[in-house]
């Protein structure tokens, strides 16, 4: 057995079906500039009429080599690059690196930092899921959903702008703490937003979830069974929709998740509808988590190390992960004892989730491809890194 290296051209050969009356299968190129690319993913479809026979995803159109860049930066500088991977859950990406580094360097984090981190991360999870909901609506033709979701996204964003100063690339959670302390009226503002978001999640249900056309488009489409999801390495809402309750916030609680009561939302069949509704429910659960934590944020410093100290990790291999809005973001660090990682690898949730389309899309139509792709909620720079 030897390793055979192939190129894309080797794959793009449409199977010929000789004989009378046979249909000609053809390739259709979606992306890198296509509304369903959600950025710049290229998907090549082998089609028979409108029915999908084969799906070939071609990522790499925003591959910037972040892992190589990390080898040249110290542990504090890495944080800002993680913002630009999965920009919709930037805080959770920050947290993944910070958590790995803290555990490896033995930095003890106080309760205040953990609570602030948890609240911020959950706020961003709501924001991320709201955006996903709007984009799914837009992909399926309900354009108004998109604008409603952005209306709410901006309202949550005001909190981030006030505390962090950034709208998208936060660079907030650092190894050893958070960059800025919260303002005195933080709790009141967050409570106001939560009561607003509660009503808005109901509105999402009224506008889109209850719609007959949407249910027709999503129910029973693109079923991903639990065993396949596990084998494919899917995580996050995609795995939970298939019925397996793997949520790091519950399985190995980090941050302040232990203090909060919440349910892990799971689906039953693993179709697009389950993936849709798991996320809608997760928004409600996130609201629930924040409501429990917001009232008693413990006192203490927001940075336990000095900000400018260089962190050195003892030689070894470190792997740690957090649950982002899309799934498990793992950070693998191999340190040789220096200020910079010798090798740093991100196990990105979208990368593993994306490949589920190669299994679940064949047999469905082009229009279902849109629903499947939307329901997986991929962020392309997270795949490419």
């Amino acid at each position: 057995m030897t390793a055979i290296v192939r190129t894309l051209d080797d794959v793009l050969i449409a199977p010929a079906h000789p004989g009378r009356g046979a249909t000609q299968e053809y390739f259709l190129n979606m992306g890198p500039q296509h509304p369903i690319a959600h950025g710049s993913l290229r998907i090549i479809l082998l089609l028979d009429g409108e029915t999908i026979r084969k799906v070939i995803p071609v990522p790499g159109y925003v591959h910037r080599g972040i892992e190589k860049m990390c080898e040249h930066l110290n542990y504090r500088q890495i944080i800002h690059l993680t913002d630009r991977m999965d920009y919709l859950s930037a805080l959770m990406n920050n947290w993944a690196v910070a958590r790995t580094v803290e555990k490896a360097a033995g930095i003890e984090i106080n309760d205040r930092i953990e609570t602030i981190r948890t609240i911020m991360a959950e706020l961003q999870r709501i924001q991320s899921h709201a955006l996903w909901w709007g984009v799914l609506g837009m992909d399926l033709g309900a354009f108004t959903a998109f604008l409603y979701s952005f209306r709410d996204r901006e309202i949550i964003g005001e909190i981030f702008e006030e505390i962090i100063g950034a709208r998208l690339t936060m660079n907030y959670i650092q190894p050893g703490g958070v960059m800025y302390d919260i303002t005195p009226d933080f709790a009141d503002k967050v409570k106001k937003i939560l009561s607003y978001m509660k009503r808005m999640v109901e509105e999402y249900d009224t506008l889109l979830s209850g719609n007959v056309i949407l249910q027709e488009r999503l129910r029973g489409v693109g079923i991903l069974t639990q065993s396949r999801a596990i084998s494919l390495g899917c995580t996050g809402p995609v795995l939970r929709a298939s019925g397996f309750a793997y949520d790091l916030r519950k399985v190995e609680p980090y941050g302040a998740y232990e203090k909060a009561q919440f349910d892990v939302v799971v689906g039953t069949t693993g179709d697009c509808w389950d993936r849709y509704y798991v996320r809608i429910e997760e928004m409600r659960q996130s609201i629930r988590i924040i409501e429990q934590l917001i009232d008693d944020i413990p006192a203490g410093p927001t940075m336990v190390t000095k900000f400018n100290t260089k962190i050195k990790l003892p030689p070894g291999r470190y792997y740690n992960h957090v649950e982002t809005a899309r799934g498990v973001l793992g950070v693998f660090i191999y340190s040789d004892g220096g200020e910079k990682p010798y090798r740093l690898h991100f196990r990105s949730p979208s990368f593993n989730n994306m490949w589920a389309i190669t299994e679940i899309a064949p047999g469905w139509r082009i229009a279902d491809m849109i629903a499947i792709q939307s329901s997986l909620d991929l962020v392309i720079p997270d795949i490419d890194r």
Binding site: L28, H34, E50, G141, A142, T144, L147, L207, N211, I370
Partner: protein, 370 residues
């Protein structure tokens, strides 16, 4: 029940004089007057097309804006009323790209065909008793036939662009529009049965004692709903916009069109929407007939003060608003679901409705005087 049915009775019918009638009457006495009327009709239809395009696109953008908690165009002219003028001018002056591998002649003909099919319909619509270009005695048949040509333009556009997205869009359009044509025609036939005429002015005049949507023992209402659904599909608007399917097919049949030719497709979509609303208003909502309630003489006097043309425009605008409402609320259907809706749901209902209407007309089994 009687009250509801008699809600929309008219007291007096106006005489219909079309522009074609005037031209014909003037041929013997003054040939120039006759030609003047013809030119007037041509210019009128041309101006209507242009004005409708500008106004409807502006309305669409404003209405969409307000549906979506924003303002819509604001900067170009007061409240952005010159926005579509700017858009039109820009599209006219934009480079006209014809793909190298496209079929040039068909690529050129497709948008023209699409626009022509819609503009031809405008000629027979009775805007008011004295404002109609010509009242063909097979008016509604003509409308069905001519608007059916629109699909040819879209199919040609999709085929000649030599682009896979366009082709898929064109094929979807052909399947969809031809299917829904059947349902639309079936519901039109119901009205033809009741009115006993194919002429559009004749159908309007037949509603002087009440609009067909109330009057035809429920068959009118069913036919109206089917007609609205079918015309949404025929004019390719959400939830039936699968031939364009912005997020699926990038632009569907008009993916490869730019500048003026794209403007033609864009315009024809909006003119089509106006035509569909106008036909629906004519058939079901009494066209230019005012809204009368029997017994309320003061109210009736006030309503009859409003000119018929305004009644017509008001009803049409209401239906156009409904189309826009659909568009900014519903998600898009899938191709097979779309076909299922037509062939398994709308078509059987349409046939049953038609048979019921035929039975009512044949047996004269009226609950109230028609």
């Amino acid at each position: 029940m009687d009250f509801i049915y008699s809600m929309t009775t008219c007291t007096a019918a106006a005489d219909v004089i079309t522009l074609a009638d005037r031209a014909a009457a003037a041929v013997d006495t003054n040939i120039w007057l006759s030609i003047l009327y013809m030119v007037l009709a041509l210019v009128g239809i041309g101006a209507l097309t242009a004005v409708l395009g500008v106004v409807l696109i502006y309305a669409e953008r404003k209405i969409a804006g307000h549906f979506q908690c924003r303002l819509g165009p604001m900067r170009v002219g007061p409240h952005g009323i010159l926005q579509t003028v700017a858009d039109t001018l820009k599209l006219l002056l934009k480079e006209d790209v014809v793909p190298a591998s496209a079929d040039k002649a068909m690529h050129f003909a497709a948008p023209l065909m699409s626009l022509m099919a819609t503009v031809l319909v405008l000629g027979v619509i009775p805007y008011s008793p004295i404002l109609q270009v010509t009242d063909v005695n097979i008016g509604i048949l003509y409308v069905t036939a001519v608007s059916g040509l629109g699909v040819m333009g879209i199919l040609l556009g999709g085929w000649s662009s030599n682009n896979k997205w366009s082709l898929v869009g064109g094929m979807r359009a052909a399947a969809q529009m031809i299917s829904y044509e059947i349902s639309a025609t079936l519901s039109v036939l119901v009205m033809v049965l009741f009115a006993g005429t194919l002429s559009l002015s004749g159908i309007v005049q037949s509603q002087e004692s009440g609009w067909w949507i109330w009057r035809a023992h429920g068959t009118g209402l069913v036919a109206f709903v089917i007609f609205i659904i079918a015309s949404t599909a025929e004019i390719n608007r959400t939830p039936f916009d699968i031939p364009e399917g912005e997020s699926e097919l990038t632009g569907g049949f008009h993916t490869e069109y730019s500048g003026l030719r794209f403007a033609f497709f864009f315009l024809s979509e909006f003119i089509n929407m106006f035509a569909a609303s106008a036909i629906a208003a004519t058939l079901f909502l009494g066209g230019w007939m005012p809204f009368y309630i029997e017994g309320f003489e003061t109210f009736n006097k006030i309503t009859s003060l409003i000119p018929p043309a305004l009644w017509f425009l008001g009803k049409t605008a209401f239906l156009i608003f409904i189309f826009m409402w659909f568009r900014w609320t519903f998600p898009r259907l899938r191709v097979d679901q779309l076909m299922r809706l037509e062939w398994k749901i709308l078509l059987p209902i349409g046939f049953i409705n038609l048979i019921a209407a035929a039975v009512i007309v044949l047996t004269k089994f009226y609950f109230f005087p028609v």
